[in-house]
């Protein structure tokens, strides 16, 4: 079927609309069935994906507003393929682990709607379409946090919404300006990203546009100064909310960098490597320290995901195949790992209705299965080799080492500080004697929780041991991206940096 | 030369009159100053040899409008000194002074726009009133009629509004009585 992508995008939304008709007690089964079908479709997409060519595949083109060059233009390549897969997989697993009873129908419908926007963002090749899905993804998230969240939920959801919205407004202005520049350069206006990839912009407009896009993406990632919405959003969101928020929504920012900033403003991106590297360095070390000081389990994982996003950003701005491929892989691995960690915190929250670490102690003796899965996911989060966490982190740091050795040395401290706060969390809640009598009769993981966690654990170990099927298409598309950037770059140092990487690649 | 002297005398006099209008405590003084000011303005009109305009100014403005004010004044107990709670003199003078200076700068700096050419050039031979009459009844006929209707409407409204309970006189009654009546 040639229009698989539109099917992938709109199937969950339509199914969601139909969900209103479904009876209340069978809505959960309905939700799981829909997301399962969606996941199978995305698997079909992966099997039929031709890994040899790095360009766009399954392209669909339908002019919407021709005179303004806005058209329904979908396509997927090595970079976005696995992010689509990640979003469908995480939504399926998240839905299975759902324990919320209060007004479940609306939750499942908003989740399906959210899934549509997630898949839409990663496959949209038209800037306006991308922007639409980008903004739409905030709406269901607002409801999920706003309605089913903790006590401070209204403040958290509004802050999340407005903060990201403000950033993306600036980004949208940037998009319009690029379309205008495209118009002045070629006479016809177009919002298609592939056309923009061929557009060569003068250096200082590139810098300004890069900054515009940067603010939009930086708030979404979230990068250092703009990250304060995340602890609130995670603190107040229900488990399913923070699973999807952490696993997929944060990746839209870094995906944006790779899809927009790098190819369209190559010289600006290369000129901005050091400032962004310093920013992500602060991000890594600072949030790791803050995570160390947290008392609430979920906040530790929330801050840890900011720290990992810092490594992703560093990988993206390494400007060589290893670095960018590493950062894409780290996006997927962080999605799986932080999704699993949030689910685990959700499980213990359902049992004890508190997330404070000092409430727990010696859980390992009471809940051994829970402790082992948490241990495996902890090791994946810390980036132990043969788990999914290591490959991405190793490649990103390796890639960035070429650009700036000293910053990589400091960024490498992420593995130390990461180990510090994760092990502190594990020791405080799992090791030690069973002091709190409320923990004595906690039941271990039941079937539902296990069915949602086991696939994540298997993927975490499988992609750690054999990442080749995922790395191969990413590698192809990233090489194309870098060749494109090298052809387009104007400034001398951009040209040299990219040529030097290519020459080293050919030499091998 | 005479023209300059006339212009300056008239100018000083009008400004003086209007300052009195604005600054005086007593309503009567300000009203009469206003009437005098209007007469001098009509003097300007004659200077600018817009004679018909000057005549109309005197008749309509000083005559009718001042009369209206006089009548209106009778209604209000202007005998009481007008208590002025002028909030911030400083703000008022600052603003008006500033705008005055700005206007002067605009007018003093030579804004001569060459493009303006006369729509209805004054012909030397025939008098001012006659030429106005021609223009008024050819080009501006519609606005003239509309103005007429407007004046009619204004007249009727003035009568209707002011005639309610024309019989008792407000000024002679004491305030409490009026209030009582109002409450009734």
């Amino acid at each position: 079927m040639h229009n698989i992508l539109s099917l992938l995008v709109f199937f969950p939304a339509l199914a969601g609309v139909l969900g209103f008709v479904v009876r209340k007690d069978s809505i959960r089964a309905y939700g799981i069935a829909v997301t399962a079908i969606e996941f199978i479709l995305s698997l079909w997409l992966w099997f039929n994906f031709d890994t040899t060519n790095g360009g766009m595949q399954f392209v669909e083109f339908l002019p919407l507003i021709p005179q303004y060059g806005i058209n329904y233009y979908l396509g997927v390549d090595g970079i976005s393929l696995f992010l689509v897969l990640l979003s469908t997989f995480i939504t399926l697993v998240g839905l299975i682990s759902l324990t919320i009873k209060k007004n479940l129908k609306n939750l499942i419908i908003s989740l399906l709607f959210l899934e549509m926007t997630l898949v839409g963002v990663f496959v949209a090749l038209d800037a306006v379409l991308f922007y639409i899905f980008w903004e739409l993804s905030l709406v269901p998230m607002l409801y999920i946090i706003g309605y089913w969240g903790g006590d401070l939920r209204i403040y958290a959801s509004i802050k999340f919404f407005l903060y990201t919205f403000a950033g993306s407004m600036i980004m949208f202005v940037g998009m319009l300006y690029v379309a205008y520049m495209y118009y002045t350069a070629t006479g016809t206006i177009s919002f298609a990203i592939t056309d923009w990839h061929r557009l060569i912009l003068p250096y200082d407009t590139q810098i300004w546009l890069f900054l515009a896009f940067f603010i939009g993406f930086a708030i979404k990632i979230p990068m250092f100064p703009f990250h304060t919405w995340l602890p609130y959003a995670h603190g107040q969101a229900p488990t399913i909310g923070s699973v999807i928020l952490a696993a997929v929504l944060l990746k839209m920012g870094t995906y944006g960098f790779i899809r927009f900033s790098l190819p369209i403003f190559p010289d600006a991106s290369i000129a901005m490597i050091t400032p962004i590297a310093i920013l992500s360095l602060i991000m890594i070390i600072y949030t790791a320290m803050v995570a160390y000081a947290q008392e609430d389990m979920k906040q530790v994982i929330a801050y840890s995901s900011i720290s990992h996003m810092g490594v992703i950003v560093i990988g993206t701005f390494a400007m060589n195949v290893e670095g960018i491929a590493g950062s894409i892989f780290l996006m997927i691995s962080h999605g799986i790992v932080s999704g699993a960690l949030f689910m685990l915190v959700g499980n213990i929250y359902d049992r004890r209705h508190t997330k404070l670490m000092k409430e727990f102690g010696g859980l390992a003796s009471v809940m051994p299965k829970y402790a082992t899965i948490f241990g495996i996911m902890l090791m994946a989060a810390v980036g132990l080799p043969l788990t999914i966490g290591f490959v991405g982190e190793f490649l990103s740091l390796l890639g960035f080492y070429k650009v700036n050795p000293w910053l990589t040395f400091l960024a490498g401290s992420s593995i130390i500080l990461g180990a510090a706060y994760m092990l502190r969390l594990y020791k405080k809640s799992f090791f030690g004697p069973l002091t709190n009598e409320k923990n004595k009769n906690l039941k271990d993981l039941n079937a539902k929780e296990l069915t949602s966690l086991i696939p994540l654990v298997l993927v975490a170990i499988w992609l750690g041991v054999y990442p080749k099927p995922v790395l191969k298409p990413i590698n192809k598309s990233v090489t194309n991206l870098l060749q494109l950037m090298e052809k387009k770059s104007i400034t001398k140092e951009a040209k040299d940096l990219l040529k030097e990487n290519r020459v080293k690649l050919e030499a091998k | 030369m005479i023209e300059a002297i006339a212009f300056y005398t008239f100018a000083i006099l009008t400004i003086a009159m209007f300052v009195i209008v604005v600054m005086s405590r007593n309503a009567l003084y300000s009203m009469s100053a206003l009437a005098a000011g209007m007469i001098f303005i009509s003097g300007f009109f004659f200077l600018l040899d817009a004679d018909f305009l000057g005549v109309v100014q005197i008749i309509v403005y000083t005559g009718a409008v001042m009369a209206l004010y006089a009548f209106a004044m009778m209604f209000f107990d202007t005998t009481k000194e007008v208590k002025e709670k002028n909030s911030s003199n400083y703000k008022v003078f600052l603003l008006s002074g500033l705008s005055a200076i700005l206007l002067i700068i605009i007018f003093v700096s030579p804004i001569i726009s060459q493009k303006v050419q006369a729509l209805y050039p004054m012909k030397e031979n025939i008098g001012n009133t006659q030429s106005i009459g021609i223009v008024l009844f050819t080009k501006y006929l519609v606005p003239f009629e509309v103005a007429a209707i407007m004046l009619l409407v204004a007249m009727i409204s003035g009568i209707v509004m002011a005639s309610k309970r024309m019989d008792e006189s407000l000024t002679l009654k004491v305030d409490e009585e009026i209030q009582k009546e109002e409450v009734k």
């Binding site: - | 604005v22 000011g37 305009l53 109309v56 209000f76 002067i104 303006v116 501006y140 004046l151």
Partner: protein
Amino acid sequence: MITLTHYLVLSAILFCIGLVGVLRRKNLLMLFFSTEILLNAVNVGFAAISKYYMDLTGQMFAFFIIAIAASEVAVGLGLLIIWYKRVGSIDLDTMQSMNG
């Protein structure tokens, strides 16, 4: 000798005096007087321009302004009288009912 700018400067000064009147006065009647001054100031300007540009439109406009001024005074005073009957004073601060 007297040029157009003299007249324009004169009308500017008169206009500003009118403005002072408008701003300072708390008594509505006095406010009417000031508006009269404003209108007259503008009339002077119009007349002057019409003379120096040898064009009658200025005077025509002056006529219409006088007409409007007259009707404005009529209606204004009518309203003022009703207001005075209702409230008993024409002080500006009493009219605060419309504040936001």
